[in-house]
């Protein structure tokens, strides 16, 4: 094993020329196209930005330079599994996986053998960490988001929710279900639900069903993403329904905010908000100055926070040994992040973090509505 590692390190040094034995090699799955691209793209940009900053200062904790291996998965799970294997063969000691539960679970099954710590860019379905003790979430999990969002909905006086979910992914199925649980626990009622398929051509049938529901819901909750959410909201508003719509963090994209009038007033949960003077606002300024692109959603800063999580785990472990890093990561309590602080200790490795609720304005901006950490008493369990 030891010989193999040394041999591999020398091989990399010989071939790559830039890698040294003491480099910490992080493999990154990043979908450049397909349904994950809107999330993987920004997350990777933020991650790379902060890794570059750290490398400029000597590496993780100023001592351990990071070498990134990045591979495109085209949002294809089978290809994802293949690139993870390739990255492990190339010596990756940490894997950052795509921004959804399903590719992360697939990747984690490959990394399980050597207990290589594996962290998803923004997968939020809490089931994803059940693969093993080496798998980590980074973004506030769906059950945390749903709990805070349900609290917000109840604060606003909503009583009857209609859930629109898709069994095609853990995210689209779980989010609305957690919301339903938390909403009921807070005294609301689930009056109905509809199922859709990912990339469903047409949502008019669902909209008509909702339109004719008795009792009529006063809030509709879906964890649908692009292009399903735009299609759904257009069909809904097109049918003359102005019921409040709420959703998960996948709505935090410029595409959704660019839809115009139909999304005005839509509320969604997310992981942070760049309040003036905050570390997050500072990150936005630095990132914009360095890259010329303004980070217009939370996946950028969350990507950066992944770099901080890795740095703090390596510091706590005092070594880059994969199993030790995993163990140290799982023990982090109130770690310093830019989007928000994070606690892995006493969770099932989905970090407990602040959840922010925002609403979308008619001119396509985000308006801050609420910041809260999910109340463990009503947090639905996966």
């Amino acid at each position: 094993m030891k010989t193999k590692t040394i041999l591999m390190a020398t091989t990399i040094a010989a071939i790559g020329g830039t890698a040294f034995a003491e480099d910490y090699v992080i493999g990154v799955m990043s979908a450049q196209s397909g349904y994950l691209a809107p999330y993987d793209g920004p997350a990777y940009a933020g991650f790379k930005f902060c890794i570059d900053e750290m490398n400029a200062a000597g590496g993780l904790n100023g001592t351990t330079p990071v070498k990134l291996i990045v591979k495109d998965t085209r949002s294809d799970i089978a290809l994802g599994v293949q690139v993870v294997q390739e990255m492990l063969d190339d010596g990756a000691q940490f894997i950052v996986s795509s921004a959804d539960a399903d590719p992360t679970i697939a990747a984690a099954q490959i990394t399980a053998a050597d207990m290589i710590p594996t962290m998803t860019f923004a997968g939020t379905a809490p089931v994803l960490t059940q693969v093993g003790p080496h798998v980590f979430g980074s973004y506030p999990a769906d059950n945390q988001q749903a709990t805070v969002l349900a609290g917000y909905a109840r604060d606003q006086g909503f009583e009857r929710v209609w859930l629109v979910k898709s069994p095609d992914s853990a995210y689209t199925l779980g989010g609305p279900e957690y919301f339903g649980e938390a909403f009921s626990a807070l005294g609301g009622t689930v009056v109905g639900e509809s199922n859709f398929s990912l990339n469903q051509p047409d949502f008019s049938a669902i909209v008509t069903t909702i339109q004719n529901a008795d009792p009529a819901p006063d809030v509709i909750v879906t964890w649908a993403w692009e292009p399903d959410f735009p299609a759904f909201i257009r069909a809904l508003r097109g049918a003359g329904l102005d019921t409040q719509v709420m959703g998960g963090d996948a709505l935090d994209t410029p595409t959704v905010r660019g839809l115009g009038d139909v999304v005005a007033g839509v509320a969604h949960s997310s992981g942070g908000f760049p309040d003036e003077g905050s570390a997050y606002a500072d990150f936005v300024d630095r990132f914009t100055a360095a890259t010329g692109t303004a980070p217009d959603n939370n996946y950028y800063v969350n990507g950066c926070d992944i770099a901080h999580m890795i740095e703090q785990a390596v510091a706590a472990a005092g070594t880059t040994d994969p199993a030790a890093v995993s163990e140290a990561m799982a023990g982090i309590e109130n770690g310093q992040g830019i989007m928000s602080n994070f606690t892995f200790a006493e969770t099932d490795r989905m970090p407990l973090r602040d959840v922010v609720v925002v609403t979308i304005t008619a001119d396509g901006q985000k308006r801050f509505a609420k910041r809260e950490t999910a109340d463990p008493a009503i947090l639905p369990q996966p």
């Binding site: 398929s197 292009p227 735009p230 049918a239 410029p254 905010r257 115009g260």
Partner: protein, 295 residues
């Protein structure tokens, strides 16, 4: 009762889009024996035409016109660049060529525009609703149905009443014979692609107006359904393609609306099983092509 009526309107609206796409596929297939897998990209290109012209500040109606024009241009260039050289090749070679065209275009869209969906924001007045006898009906599905019916009626009129239409119908029946009468092949083929492009453009307009975003895969999924519709209707049969489109759209909406939630994941399977069941009874589709005995 109201619910059923409203769902029927939804079914008509979706079925109409499938019908236009299926008709576009059928017209080209009937003449050049090409199952054009890149038809979806014609539609997607139309969507990007709308997006780009709105990004450059064109008013929505003008943008929609540009979208239809873009689809038309794409269809014609596809024929000129990719398929003319393959004229007369067997069905499989043509199919593979169209796969290649489809993949190339998807990659171009991803790299040239965006892998992510781009938003299209239409005026809010376009997403209103009105009441008829206590029933709320959306403006968008209504307009969609009207536009579909007008397009199909116009096309029928062109096919029935004009010399070009006559040539198209004859070409669908026996293209070689038509050529032996001295009618130029290039022109008839170009017209068939133009018609299929126009139909895809109109479909793109309705589709983007209803969905609010365009992504590189936008045309892929509806065209997949349109393929099923053309097979259901009888490959190469124009009337059959339209029928098939409406049937597939209706099945899709009605299964969504009235199947219990526990069966929801099997929806596509149920729709496809229904199609297979029809094909078992009528192997040549709902209205098979009338081809004379050919030696």
């Amino acid at each position: 009762m109201d619910v059923l009526l409203q769902q029927l309107i939804n079914a008509l609206s979706l079925g109409g889009i499938y019908a236009m796409l299926a008709l576009g596929l059928a017209i080209v297939f009937s003449i050049v024996r090409l199952i054009n897998f890149a038809h979806g990209e014609i539609m997607t290109f139309g969507g990007y035409g709308i997006f780009l012209s709105m990004a450059f500040g064109l008013p929505p109606l003008a943008a929609l016109t540009v979208g239809i024009g873009a689809a038309l241009v794409m269809a014609l260039s596809m024929e000129r660049v990719a398929f003319r050289a393959m004229r007369g090749a067997d069905v499989v070679s043509l199919l593979i060529t169209s796969f290649a065209v489809s993949e190339i275009l998807k990659v171009l869209f991803q790299n040239g525009i965006s892998a992510r969906p781009v938003p299209i924001s239409f005026p809010s007045s376009w997403s209103g609703a009105y009441q008829i006898g206590g029933m709320t009906i959306g403006v968008a599905p209504t307009v969609s149905i009207l536009v579909t019916l007008i397009s199909l009626a116009t096309l029928t009129l062109v096919l029935r009443r004009t010399a070009t239409g006559m040539a198209m119908r004859a070409a669908a029946e026996d293209f070689e014979m038509l050529r032996m009468l001295g009618v130029k092949a290039d022109r008839v083929v170009a017209v068939s692609f133009a018609i299929s492009g126009l139909l895809a453009g109109v479909a793109a307009v309705i589709w983007t107006a209803q969905r609010g975003s365009v992504d590189p895969l936008m045309g892929f999924f509806p065209v997949l359904k349109a393929f099923i519709a053309t097979v259901l209707g009888g490959l190469g049969s124009l009337g059959g393609a339209v029928q098939g489109g409406f049937v597939v759209g209706a099945l899709e909406v009605l299964t969504q609306a009235f199947l219990p939630d526990s069966l929801a994941p099997y929806r596509d399977a149920i729709v496809l099983s229904a199609v297979i069941a029809v094909l078992l009874v009528r192997p040549d589709g709902l209205s098979p092509t009338k081809t004379g005995a050919r030696s």
